[in-house]
Subunit: 208 residues, 2 copies
């Protein structure tokens, strides 16, 4: 995982001065435009028109529509991760931190993805095509999860026999129905009860 | 769950005499046609042409393209379920039966869905739009799972404290990445190792 994947201002396919105010202006305008008209249907020419810059000027900052999508996606994932990190920090025990990590991710993802319905296809693209922003985000969630598991093992709350890699990757997979945009959409009706059931199952699997 | 959802010859949207040989002929021809040209792009008119019957004659047996899709889907799910049931029957212990149920479902689904790449959009439609055939199939998988859990509890292999409904629904959700066509496609690369990891996690959660 490189920092490229974590910071919107350095995301893949971007160019020109990183801190240029115009860059953020383009991202914000594109965000609003995608939210209104959808990511799939918008071209860079449409965007240029909406933002009030020339296509050539936009290409000074982003090499493609996907690069702009990446930047929006990275900002969105950053919001989700920040909320989760704050919730984990507030929780007292490793068990409670584990619950908060995944329940916050799902609650925040639901809020961001489905309030702005048309950004959903952007998120789905990012996840299924494994954009660097999505991969970087998943790596950060798994890193946070590993830290919680290690704390739980240290505190005697969790079992220590299973290799940590096996434990953390299995949990990331079992949580996919509540993290991956394609399945999250499909599982919205049963929230939060169904996620709590899977979290409880995982906590039973972690029992010493 | 009604039998309508379980038997292809009674699936939703079908009409006319159930055992009519023409019905199966239409299903087989549609299956071959969808596998070659894709479900999404095919119209009932295209199908009629390919099968050599009139559109009106096809409508005697199926009320829509979806009804034909349903019938194909039900047949495909029936094959998966039969393979899983046979594998569960062969296994000796509840733990082994549990492993076999899900590993067979995933292996067979992968084989059926991705050998005939263009049937994949049919399966994805069926799952995301919750067609009766897909719902009936999931109900059968869960019924088989419950039976295995009860046997495991009886035999002292599995814990008995968690309500059976909670246990079985949580397991069905945690297994979604390896059962739902949308996520199965996304998780193909890590098979079978990643599924084994989640199965191991669930078995740890079932420990008495």
């Amino acid at each position: 995982m490189t920092t490229d994947a974590l910071h919107p201002d350095l995301a893949a396919g971007q160019r020109g001065p990183a801190d240029h105010a115009i860059r953020q202006q383009i991202i914000d305008a594109a965000d609003a435009h995608f939210a209104r008209f959808g990511y799939g249907k918008t071209t860079v020419a449409d965007l240029a028109k909406a933002v009030g810059f020339s296509k050539a000027y936009i290409y000074k900052f982003f090499e493609s529509k996907q690069a702009i999508g990446e930047a929006i996606c990275a900002q969105c994932l950053e919001k989700i991760m920040s909320a989760a990190t704050a919730a984990v920090y507030e929780a007292r025990t490793p068990t409670e931190k584990f619950r908060k990590l995944f329940s916050t991710i799902t609650a925040k993802s639901t809020e961001l993805l489905f309030q702005e319905k048309l950004l959903y296809d952007l998120a789905a693209n990012s996840a299924t095509e494994q954009w660097p922003s999505a991969l970087g985000y998943l790596a950060r969630v798994e890193a946070s999860l590993r830290e919680i598991i290690l704390q739980g093992r240290e505190a005697g709350e969790f079992e220590r026999k299973t290799p940590i890699d096996e434990t953390s990757s299995a949990i990331m997979l079992a949580m996919q129905p509540f993290m991956h945009p394609l399945l999250l959409e499909f599982n919205l009706d049963g929230l939060p009860e169904n996620q709590t059931r899977v979290i409880n199952l995982i906590l039973r699997s972690l029992a010493p």
